[in-house]
């Protein structure tokens, strides 16, 4: 089966995504071989659903986006893997957040990953997963110079052997 990439997208938005090709300077292959067994590897999750820890972190800046529609908050959050679902907040203006509030696992399956670790299928999970807010590829300069390097440093510090990224 081949997934229809535009099934749930309003038809008039399809040209914003389709046939645009790679970003300039991002045309060639990049490849880091996955060398270990999965059962001996530490995995990190990265979601762009705008998830944050309500008690200890600021939400993503939605007012900034409302006042400047072309802007999106380029910051990121480290989400402790043991955070109870009920303590996670969601800040995202491009999706209905209700289902993620009801079950954050649909965007950031930290508990499910822990189960796979407990079963022995996966070697381990990082102590802190990563959350960003998506729908921003118009403004990549902050991402390239600040956000991405900070996330990469975090993933290295967490000894991640691989990352599962999921856009919202």
């Amino acid at each position: 089966m081949i997934v229809d990439s535009y099934r749930f997208l309003p038809r008039s938005f399809r040209p914003l995504y389709e046939g645009r090709g790679p970003l300039r300077g991002e045309e060639g292959p990049v490849w880091a071989p996955f060398e270990k067994r999965l059962a001996a590897s530490r995995i990190a999750l990265l979601s762009s659903a705008g998830i944050y820890v309500r008690a200890s972190q600021p939400a993503f800046d939605l007012d900034g986006e409302r006042s400047r529609p072309e802007w999106g908050d380029p910051t990121w959050r480290a989400i402790p893997a043991t955070t109870p679902s009920g303590q996670l907040g969601v800040a995202h203006l491009h999706i209905n957040e209700e289902d993620i509030h009801a079950d954050p696992e649909i965007a950031l399956p930290m508990r499910l990953l822990s189960e796979l670790v407990a079963e022995g299928a996966v070697g381990g999970a990082v102590a802190e997963h990563v959350a960003v807010m998506g729908y921003q590829d118009r403004h990549l300069s902050d991402w390239r110079t600040e956000t991405a390097p900070a996330i990469i440093a975090h993933l290295r510090e967490q000894d991640a052997d691989g990352v599962v990224l999921a856009p919202a």
């Binding site: 389709e18 965007a107 990352v163």
Partner: protein, 113 residues
């Protein structure tokens, strides 16, 4: 996000992107791609459906650890269990996002002039 995957990969950490727009991830040259035909905001499936979420994450991990070459794409053969019309409405925010609002206003202006 496909570009973020590329940057992480270029730093030496393997990545897989689980996405409802696998064709876009391919165009943006993500290294490993899992496609899901799910509404936005639901990369791993339906709320509280652990079996469905597990199928997605396990496929993601299989492609992450087992893909042989750059550009590998595997699509999950799973139909969204909600009728399209309802699912299409359900994922969208209650009011259009600021950028969508701006685009709609620009279109309306263009149509008027």
């Amino acid at each position: 996000m496909p570009v973020l995957a590329r940057w992480i990969e270029a730093a030496g950490i393997p990545t897989v992107i689980v996405t409802m727009m696998p064709a876009v991830a391919q165009e943006r040259r993500a290294p490993r791609i899992v496609g899901v035909e799910f509404p936005y905001g639901h990369a791993f499936g339906m709320p509280h459906d652990r079996a469905m979420q597990r199928r997605v994450l396990e496929l993601g991990l299989r492609v992450l650890s087992g893909a042989a070459a750059f550009g590998t794409r595997v699509d999950l053969d799973l139909e969204w269990p909600v009728p399209l019309r309802d699912a299409y409405r359900a994922w969208q925010p209650k009011e259009p996002s600021p950028i969508v609002k701006k685009l709609l206003e620009a279109r309306a202006d263009a149509a008027r002039s």
